[in-house]
Amino acid sequence: MSMNNKGGSPAPTATNAAATAGASGAPGPAGRPTATPAPAAAPKASLSANIAKFRELGLLAFIVILAIGVQLRNPSFLTWENLNDIATNTAILSILAVGMMLVIITRGIDLSIGATLALAGMSAALTVKEYPGLSPLVAVLLGVGIGIVCGAVLGFLVAKINILPIIATLGMMNVFRGLTYELSGGKWVSAHQMPDSFKAIATGKVLGLNNLIVIAVVIYIVAYYFVNHTRTGRQIYAVGSNPDSAEVSGIKSGRILWLVYTIMGGLAGLAGVLWVAKFASAQGDTASGYELSVIAACVLGGVSIAGGSGKISGIILGSVLLGILNNALPMINVSPFWQNFIQGMIILIAVLINAVVKRGIDRNNLMRRRI
């Protein structure tokens, strides 16, 4: 759409200008069509809009092709069971991706989520170990709570003391990780120490779908509503798109940042509990380095590191793609030594293609402008 608009707008603008001109009985020349879009401004965002569409289709196509390819190699790939597994294993990643998207939209990044996840998970696990009678819901809430606290601390550092996100999260990553070890005293919490009710969080099913999937879906629905249909949600984009004017239009950027990191923390906390419940074990080094996968998912999903843009639909695809890779590579007997390389390549190629397509569209738009 936006492409036509981009093209369509300027000339008519002018013609209508003429109309108003006539109305207010103004001198002739002014009525004449004039405005050509300033080339500087025009291509940029309208393109990124196109890309947003285009890239998602492209990503989808890529996923489909990949899936077919794998299916040919291993027929047990496109089975209900396996798809279910993929979804289950991707659920946690995709939940985190939501938070990360919000953070990146505000021009930030959060390296600490792996550690936050571990801390929340460990605390929840230790709690249920002590009080097996405890309702799993309480455990979940506890995890989320701890996550929120971690996130709030980060938010404070970023929003109030305005430390660069990458640094603040890098530092706190160490702190949270360390705390996790301190908390557990180097021990693990293992299956037999967890009440079944707790493990059931991750194994239970709702109408045939694993809880994790359900939770993820719910979160996505809420997130979609939040970013698209609430004032705060839009303000997040505003802050990322142009922080200065956000100030001027009376948006409390500080609060928005704080909020965003807190949400990220909360989701990480939730993910922590789910993780621990899913694998029925809590370790100090849970999910170390996981943040990179999450960021990769966002990038694949077309969330722009420059801030301001990013769509729910995009990160769904991004997470799914990663999920499929993790599941498929072992299944088609790719040598374990190649898996790293392949994943890296796919990420790189995805972003490069993206860039190239963008340029292509750019050129086309210029062609359309007759000189």
Partner: protein, 325 residues
């Protein structure tokens, strides 16, 4: 309008001088030293302090060029993987009969190439941020290392190779000497040459630099290539210290390196910071770890301390600004 003469002197303020970030590092360093001396009777001992450098200086070689990259306003998180890849290739070649000196040269060449590729990608695809580019090359480079070495470790280097990481020249660890030499080179490059000046310019305002006839692309490529090269240098020393190598060495180095650079007062938004700061930061963190190691502080406590140190150090000046507003 009447032509006015400009003063010749830069107005010097003691305040401004004392307020440089580097002084805060010095203060921190002293504080740290005092603390360590009180904690352990083994700390204040020349031999120990000397040998300690051997175990933390390998990373430092990467810190030097990383300062440039961050001043230009980019970032390179693939350094750890470059170390692994170049080290693995060197070891593999040597085990396949290539003479060690040549293998070492190839190691440097590989590092340089990796860096060059990073630079090229960053320059040719300006719409991608360096974070993304190096994030993917990080995975790829280490991936290649795994493909090459599979599940083995390669090693059994000639004894003289130990020299790099373990021997002394006139009672001073060779690695320390090497570092000092490189440090001086990079300091000179950054602060005394047109190249360094251009790097600062680019970090402060890329377009203006370009319009002022600076070949921004070329300089970016050079900076990334330098980083690759120095990562390979780090690979040499690290491999020598380990006596063997495997695809997972130098895991997570990128974070340590970046942490040091930032602690050194180089702003990740580009254009600001000094080499001396980064160097101070290297020794600050290095000796802090060492000192706490002497009293066998548990790894997790160490993590927390380093993390908090980073946060606190970075917050101080911000708090100051905060008051201003």
């Amino acid at each position: 309008m009447e032509p006015r003469l400009l003063q010749n002197k830069r107005d010097f303020s003691v305040k401004g001088f004392l307020l440089q970030w580097e002084w805060m590092l010095v203060v921190l360093f002293l504080a740290m030293t005092v603390m360590n001396i009180n904690l352990s009777e083994y700390y204040w001992n020349f031999d120990n302090l000397r040998d300690a450098t051997m175990s933390f200086l390998d990373k430092a070689f990467i810190v030097l060029p990383m300062v440039f990259i961050i001043i230009v306003g980019d970032i390179d998180i693939s350094v750890g993987s470059i170390v692994a890849l170049s080290s693995v290739i060197m070891a593999d070649l040597y085990n396949h009969g290539v003479p060690m000196p040549i293998a070492m040269l190839i190691c440097l060449a590989v590092g340089t190439l990796c860096g060059y590729i990073n630079g090229l990608l960053v320059v040719k695809f300006k719409e991608l941020s360096a974070v993304i580019v190096t994030l993917s090359t990080m995975i790829i480079y280490r991936g290649i290392a795994y493909i090459l070495l599979k599940d083995q470790a390669a090693g059994k280097f000639p004894d003289w190779f130990n020299f790099l990481g373990w021997e002394y020249v006139g009672g001073i660890p060779f690695i320390l000497i090497a570092f000092v030499v490189f440090a001086i080179l990079f300091w000179y490059l950054l602060h005394k040459t047109t190249f360094g000046r251009k790097v600062y310019a680019m970090g402060s305002n890329l377009t203006a630099s370009r319009f002022s006839g600076i070949q921004t692309d070329r300089i970016k490529i050079i900076v990334f290539t330098l980083t690759g090269l120095m990562s390979a240098v780090c690979a040499l020393f690290l491999t020598s210290r380990m006596g063997s190598t495997r695809p997972n060495i130098a895991n997570g180095y990128e974070l340590d390196v970046i942490a040091m650079v930032v602690l050194g007062g180089i702003s990740t938004s580009g254009g600001k910071g000094r080499m001396i700061g980064a160097i101070l930061a290297i020794f600050l963190i290095g000796y802090l770890r060492y000192g706490l190691g002497l009293v066998n502080v548990s790894a997790q406590t160490l993590l927390i301390i380093i993390g908090l140190l980073l946060i606190v150090a970075v917050s101080i000046p911000k708090l100051k600004l905060g008051k201003k507003r």
